[in-house]
């Protein structure tokens, strides 16, 4: 298991060092600094073995987090833990920076003591941790309070405490999708997938049981048509889904759930049921690769005119319902390193050559569906004796659209709280769909 955990700043100075196992000596701290942080050649793996000691590291801006071990540990677990650790720190004191770490080092030690015992990860749920690691000094807890804390830390429902009360029972569902695309210059889709997340904000009293329904093919088929009528009840704010409104169900390649979802029930009964944590959490993640409606298409035309000039013409086409508006559209067109000047003309939005980024950045605030915009640029190049050809990185794009490009739809979310006197109908529910660009690239 994890033998020790160190946090360094960018210079390699130790900010936090916590050793859990006897086989990890003080020299491990230095070994990592010398061999990884200060390594002459950039380290090319997140796992490094130095003198039979293995170091796992992740980097957050300029902070290094390293876990050390001499055993054959579960590597996926160590990395998951390191990421969770940064989440916990962020939840306590905001951004993980050197300043913040130094300001909170006592707190961090306290957290580390709690979430890692002898190198074994324990409960890392921030909601629960915050109930008893407070940095508020002594709080004389009553017996009931402490036993409530301990039962939550170890409990079956480790993510929610008893006795939550709201005057207004309300929940928000955000369907957040990121569309990823790699397209050839000729407009052939090389790969495309949607990575979706369902983020839920729940403000519900008691220990509510929720049932969640989506338009996944497998789930719908196994249920038959019987729950179709549930749609459209209560306070749904229904967002029209853009291009794919005709599709009734979609094929989800794979999905993953927050630990609150009863996985065995999902496997056997194909139903998503859970008792949600209080507040915001990520309920589900999914991935689709079939029938994705790509919101935009880029048609690039790059021509090298002699050795000192290049002509670029880019057409962006939007491909969704005309009534919808895309926002924050940005196209990034890479330019060669030896660019000396750029003239850009575009009909819509603003385009600028950014020398520091080696790219022309074209921003369009809003763009309706089924539209087309064009940009043309002339790039002047300096003479270089560099033999190597410029490798033409792909043109990338950012945007935000108000529908789910995968065609994903929420069909229902039912809430049952048998002990309290509110029913599914009394809960106010909100749904929102947002499609964002992930890696949305067209080669040119």
């Amino acid at each position: 298991m994890i033998g020790g955990l160190f946090i360094y700043n960018h210079k390699g100075e130790v900010l936090i060092s916590r050793v859990y196992r006897d086989d990890i000596g003080r020299n491990a701290v230095d070994a990592f600094r010398v061999n990884v942080i200060h390594a002459r050649q950039q380290v090319r793996s997140p796992v490094t073995n130095i003198a039979r000691t293995s170091f796992f590291h992740i980097k957050r801006s300029n902070i290094w987090l390293a876990a050390v071990t001499k055993q054959n540990v579960n590597a996926a677990m160590v990395f998951e833990f390191l990421h969770k650790m940064t989440d916990v720190m962020a939840a306590y004191f905001g951004k993980v920076t050197e300043e913040n770490i130094k300001n909170n080092f006592v707190l961090i030690y306290e957290i580390l003591d709690e979430i890692l015992d002898f190198g074994y990860p324990q409960n890392t749920d921030t909601g629960i941790l915050k109930t008893f690691i407070t940095q508020q000094g002594v709080k004389s807890q009553t017996k009931e309070e402490t036993s409530q804390i301990t039962s939550q830390v170890t409990g079956q429902i480790g993510w929610r405490r008893e006795g939550i009360k709201y005057r207004r029972n309300e929940l928000f569902l955000d369907v957040l999708e990121s569309v990823n695309l790699l397209m050839s210059p000729q407009g052939q889709v090389l790969s495309a997938h949607v990575a979706g997340r369902i983020v839920m904000k729940s403000y519900l009293s008691g220990m509510p049981e929720c049932k969640f329904g989506i338009n996944d093919k497998v789930l719908m088929e196994s249920k038959g048509g019987k729950s179709g009528q549930d749609e459209g009840r209560g306070g749904y704010v229904k967002s029209t889904s853009g291009a794919s409104s005709t599709k009734t169900s979609i094929a989800i390649d794979d999905c993953q759930f927050h630990q609150c979802v009863k996985l065995s029930k999902f496997e056997t009964e194909h139903s998503i049921s859970f008792i949600p944590p209080d507040g915001e959490f990520e309920l589900m993640r999914y991935r689709t690769t079939k029938d994705i409606s790509l919101p935009f298409r880029i048609i690039p035309l790059v021509r090298e005119v002699g050795r000192q000039k290049m002509e670029v013409k880019i057409v962006v086409k939007s491909n969704f319902k005309p009534s919808l508006l895309a926002q924050k559209v940005e196209v990034r067109i890479p330019t060669p390193l030896n660019t000396s000047g750029v003239q850009v003309i575009c009909m819509k939005g603003k385009a600028k050559y950014k020398a520091s980024e080696n790219a022309i950045v074209w921003k369009i605030k809003r763009m309706g569906g089924m539209k087309e915009c064009q940009l043309s640029a002339e790039i002047e190049l300096l003479n270089t004796n560099d033999k190597r050809k410029w490798t033409r990185p792909p043109i990338s794009m950012n945007f935000e659209v108000p529908f789910a490009p995968s065609g994903f739809k929420v069909r229902y979310l039912k809430v049952f709280e048998p002990k309290l006197n509110y029913s599914d109908h009394d809960v106010i529910k909100w749904v929102r769909y947002i499609g964002r660009s992930g890696l949305y690239e067209t080669r040119c």
């Binding site: 054959n72 590597a75 996926a76 170890t154």
Partner: protein
């Protein structure tokens, strides 16, 4: 005021000031001071001097302050054991506190203080805490058992903590169960004799599977990892476990997913391969594996390393998922390189077009390593998918046209392989290759180019000029280039004997006379002899048909692959090495996949009746670029000695045949004689060879038998015995002599606990009854899985012998060398690193007097006893031998043997982490060297 100020104080007299503050009356000031101490500790300053002052702050009701003091204690208790005792009372008191958080904190911290005296006091509180009413305390106590076991395994066993821990598996609280599982797994790993108490059975597995649904993500990982160590009793049980584990594949935590994959991959071995259930499992595995590729890059990396293994084991799982392994422009480099590996593995005729387009794209990227690997991958595609070979070759040619130096070189290396796979098909491109001759500066590329020229010498008009141009700087070339050049020129000569005599003589003399590389010299001599005695035979040997090149590269050896599959998600799967290659100390059992269940086997047999068992033909593996030992005929890119043997072999029958007398012969006859000094040198040379190949002594040292039990003490039974190691097996050689008046029978042997866990591997096999005045000898095999207790001295073994008369006790010394393992040869680099790593106080020197041997005989003698000489160095006239050996319990011992010529006293330096073994090791050296 923020806490960061604590990091800034560096003024003199700091410790003194802190001392004053720690003893202050004001609580706030105290706390501030402790914080400062912790900050100093973090940045590496020694604040151990403050120990008593800090410990004084321990008795407080302020939880935060208490935690800080505990943190300090954990760090420094070991250096101040006597002081640490002061803290015991507070710990014991805290374990009784009404607040469960404080009880847990106390028991958690106490376990981290590795001071013997404290562990004694820990037992009682720990016992209570394991039965505490509060689950938080119980889950903490469960881990504490593992901590205690790490400090003092015997204590844990004696105090019955193992049973208490096992009881926790039935706890009502899932987190307690999870931590208990984690602790049990660790304890079982560390000491095999705990296994008997903690062994998993179907009942406990059932409990674990129930807890699995309810515990935290981490707990699920512990449980799944532990289930993966269990072998179900039959196919049905395997399937039912699979059914209950597969829902975990949808968990958001990648570690849970991978651990579940591990369990399923392992259990699938037991299931009927053709069955529907396995088919459905295979289908279920792909999506979660693909999803892992959208996780954080570090997790992607772990996933990709594992997918690499999974694809080799069961390629059907991901065969349709090629696209997800396409490299993204801003993937970190370590992800890119791994994806590329998997892409090549998944390449098939159906997806080759896409793959090739991608690879071509990658070959224009910036990162040199990545580009090289991409170019290499194109070559692999050509070899793997025959119909695409042409397209691959033209892609490679395009790349060569870019003139980017490293791209060209890499392309030439792979084109060489393509030529081997498809001989006489693409030689039209040779002209293009030759254009780039002078840009090649890497040995591998040069060697490849030379090979191509030699292979197609008859079609390249100016082959002799080209090769001659390389010959100019022959002495400065890398060995593999030299070897290749030698072979290529000999080939050229055999193909065009008329105008290349001079060239071949030149290269032969360069390699035999002016080189100090034995491989090169030997090869030179062999070619020379071959050419001079029988050119026809030479032709047959040098221009022989080459074996086919295999399609797959860098395949992991199947038994290792199976072992790694059992380690999915762990570091071993990331390194692609078995755990004992990077984990110290623990012998640890090798994990193996479960055997196919009976039923499944029957089915295979039935199938086998209809058609020959469909065992896939094992492709010969092309070693990776860095381990190219070379394949035998003449592709010796890494100058392997193995090549020589192969070439010599067919040469032998040819040698006695008298010379055929072809054109090139005459000149050679003379030249050879001159150079070889009338053949006598040749004889010497062979003589030397004979010496080397002459049967070395392979006997390991067996000390003479000694009397262990004199007849006077054995009521007439006399036992003499010794220990020997034969075929990886420790044996106790015993001779029983009956000096009593009546026959003896009913012999049995038992060992006391001993340092190395020796115990009889079987019951003693001796002829009974043993009549009076007769002796019987037997050899009793031993294993090292018995209970361990450190003895003083280390090598003592107490043996009890029973017969029909009485029970007798005797004490013997185990000569340590029977415990030296066959795999005790350390890699050179690891040896160096380990030598440096072990602190110098651990080094001890001995002098061994009157050794009647020299360095070579010494190392072969030691070698026979599994002491491996890793390197030999001659420093100022004295020989230094660097040796490694490994004991059955996994302890490595490094040795340096200093031998001065004409001085029979050798100096032996030993280095190991466990210093207790030195005396015994030295004794072994004494015995072996004087034998």
């Amino acid at each position: 005021m923020t806490d960061s100020k604590y990091f800034t104080t560096t003024k003199k007299g700091e410790i003194f000031e802190l001392k004053a503050e720690l003893n202050s009356d004001k609580k706030e000031k105290k706390k501030e001071a402790v914080k400062k101490v912790i900050a100093s500790m973090t940045v590496g300053k020694d604040v151990s001097a403050l120990f008593p002052d800090v410990v004084n702050c321990m008795q407080t009701d302020n939880l935060e302050l208490k935690k800080l003091v505990y943190l300090y204690l954990m760090n420094y208790a070991k250096s101040q054991p006597d002081m640490a005792i002061m803290a015991v009372n507070t710990f014991v008191k805290d374990c009784e506190d009404s607040n469960p958080l404080i009880r847990a904190l106390a028991v958690r911290t106490m376990g981290c203080i590795r001071v013997d005296k404290i562990t004694e006091y820990l037992c009682e509180p720990l016992r209570k805490c394991l039965k505490d009413e509060d689950p938080y305390v119980r889950k903490t106590a469960a881990v504490c058992v593992a901590k205690l076991h790490d400090i003092n395994a015997q204590l844990v066993e004696d105090q019955g903590f193992l049973d208490l821990l096992r009881d926790l598996l039935s706890d009502s609280n899932p987190m307690v169960v999870a931590n208990a599982v984690a602790a049990i797994s660790e304890i079982m790993d560390a000491s095999p004799n705990a296994a008997s108490v903690l062994e998993m059975n179907s009942g406990t597995i059932n409990k674990l599977l129930t807890a699995l649904n309810e515990c935290t993500e981490w707990g699920q990982v512990f449980i799944l990892d532990s289930i993966s160590n269990y072998t179900p009793k039959d196919e049905r049980e395997a399937q039912s476990i699979c059914e209950r584990v597969t829902p975990r594949l949808a968990h958001a935590n990648a570690a849970v997913v991978l651990s579940a994959v591990k369990v399923v991959m392992k259990l699938m071995e037991m299931l009927d391969t053709g069955g529907d259930y396995v088919t459905s499992l295979v289908k279920k595995l792909a999506p979660p594996l693909v999803t892992l590729l959208s996780a954080e890059p570090e997790i992607q990396y772990v996933a990709l390393r594992n997918i690499n293994l999974i694809v080799q084991k069961r390629s059907e799982i991901l065969k349709n998922e090629m696209k997800v392994f396409f490299v993204k422009y801003n993937d970190p480099i370590y992800v890119k390189l791994e994806k590329l590996d998997i892409m090549i593995r998944l390449t098939s005729q159906s997806n080759i077009a896409q793959v090739l387009a991608e690879l071509k794209e990658y070959a224009t990227e910036v990162d040199v390593d990545f580009v090289r690997k991409s170019v290499r991958a194109i070559g692999r595609c050509a070899i793997k998918v025959e119909p695409a070979a042409e397209r691959c070759v033209s892609t490679l040619l395009d790349l060569i046209q870019t003139k980017v130096n490293y791209v060209v070189q890499e392309a030439i290396v792979v084109i060489k392989d393509i030529f081997r796979k498809y001989p006489n098909k693409y030689e039209s491109i040779i002209a293009t290759l030759c254009e780039n001759l002078d840009t090649l500066d890497e040995p591998e590329a040069r060697a490849s180019m030379i090979w191509i020229i030699g292979e197609y010498a008859e079609r390249i008009d100016n082959a002799d000029e080209l090769l001659e141009s390389f010959l100019e700087g022959f002495q400065d070339e890398n060995t593999q280039v030299q070897l290749q050049l030698l072979t290529a020129i000999v080939k050229l000569f055999l193909k065009r004997p008329t105008d290349t005599q001079e060239l071949v003589q030149q290269v032969l003399s360069l390699s035999t006379q002016d080189s100090d590389n034995p491989d090169l010299r030997d090869r030179g001599y062999i070619y020379w002899r071959l050419l001079s005695t029988d050119p026809a035979a030479a032709k047959e040997v040098v221009l022989a048909e080459k074996p086919l090149i295999s399609e797959e590269t860098d395949l992991i050896e199947p038994t290792l692959l199976d072992e790694l599959i059992c380690h999915i998600s762990s570091l071993a799967s990331v390194y692609h090495k078995p755990p004992n290659a990077f984990v110290e100390g623990r012998g640890g059992l090798r994990k193996v996949l479960p055997p196919k269940s009976e039923q499944a086997e029957g089915l295979v047999e039935e199938l086998g009746a209809q058609e020959p068992t469909a065992a896939p033909p094992q492709p010969t593996v092309i070693p990776g670029a860095d381990s190219l030992i070379g394949d035998l005929l003449d592709m010796d890119m890494g100058s392997g000695p193995s090549m020589m043997q192969q070439q010599m072999y067919p040469a032998q029958p040819a040698a006695p045949t008298p010379a055929g007398g072809s054109g090139g012969m005459d000149i050679f006859g003379e030249g050879l004689d001159n150079l070889l000094g009338g053949g006598s040198t040749g004889g010497d040379m062979l003589g030397g060879l004979g010496d080397i190949f002459g049967m070395p002594q392979t006997q390991s040292y067996v000390p003479p038998q000694e009397v262990w039990l004199p007849a006077s003490k054995g009521k007439g039974l006399e036992i003499t015995g010794t220990f020997a190691r034969k075929n990886n097996q420790i044996n106790m050689e015993l001779t029983f002599t009956n000096k009593a008046m009546q026959p003896m029978s009913g012999f049995a042997v038992q060992f006391n606990k001993n340092s190395f866990g020796l115990m009889p591997a079987q019951v003693i096999n001796i002829r009974t009854p043993l009549p009076p005045n007769q002796s019987a000898s037997t050899s009793l095999p031993l294993n090292t899985q018995g209970p361990i207790q450190k003895m003083e001295p280390l090598t003592i073994l107490q043996v009890a012998i029973k017969n029909n008369i009485d029970v007798f006790y005797m004490s013997t010394h185990v000569p340590l060398h029977v415990l030296f393992m066959e795999d005790g040869e350390m890699d050179k680099k690891i040896f160096l690193a380990t030598w440096k790593d072990i602190p110098s106080p651990n080094e001890v020197q001995y002098t061994i007097n009157n050794v009647p041997h020299n360095a070579d005989t010494v190392s072969s003698k030691l070698r026979n006893n599994n002491v491996f000489t890793i390197a030999k160095r001659n420093v100022e006239g004295q020989d230094m031998l660097y040796q490694s050996l490994k004991l059955t319990n996994g302890i490595w011992i490094l040795a340096e043997l200093k031998i001065q010529p004409s001085n029979p006293s050798f100096v032996l330096s030993l280095k190991a982490r466990a210093v207790d073994v030195y005396e015994a090791v030295k004794q072994v050296y004494e015995n072996i060297l004087h034998n």
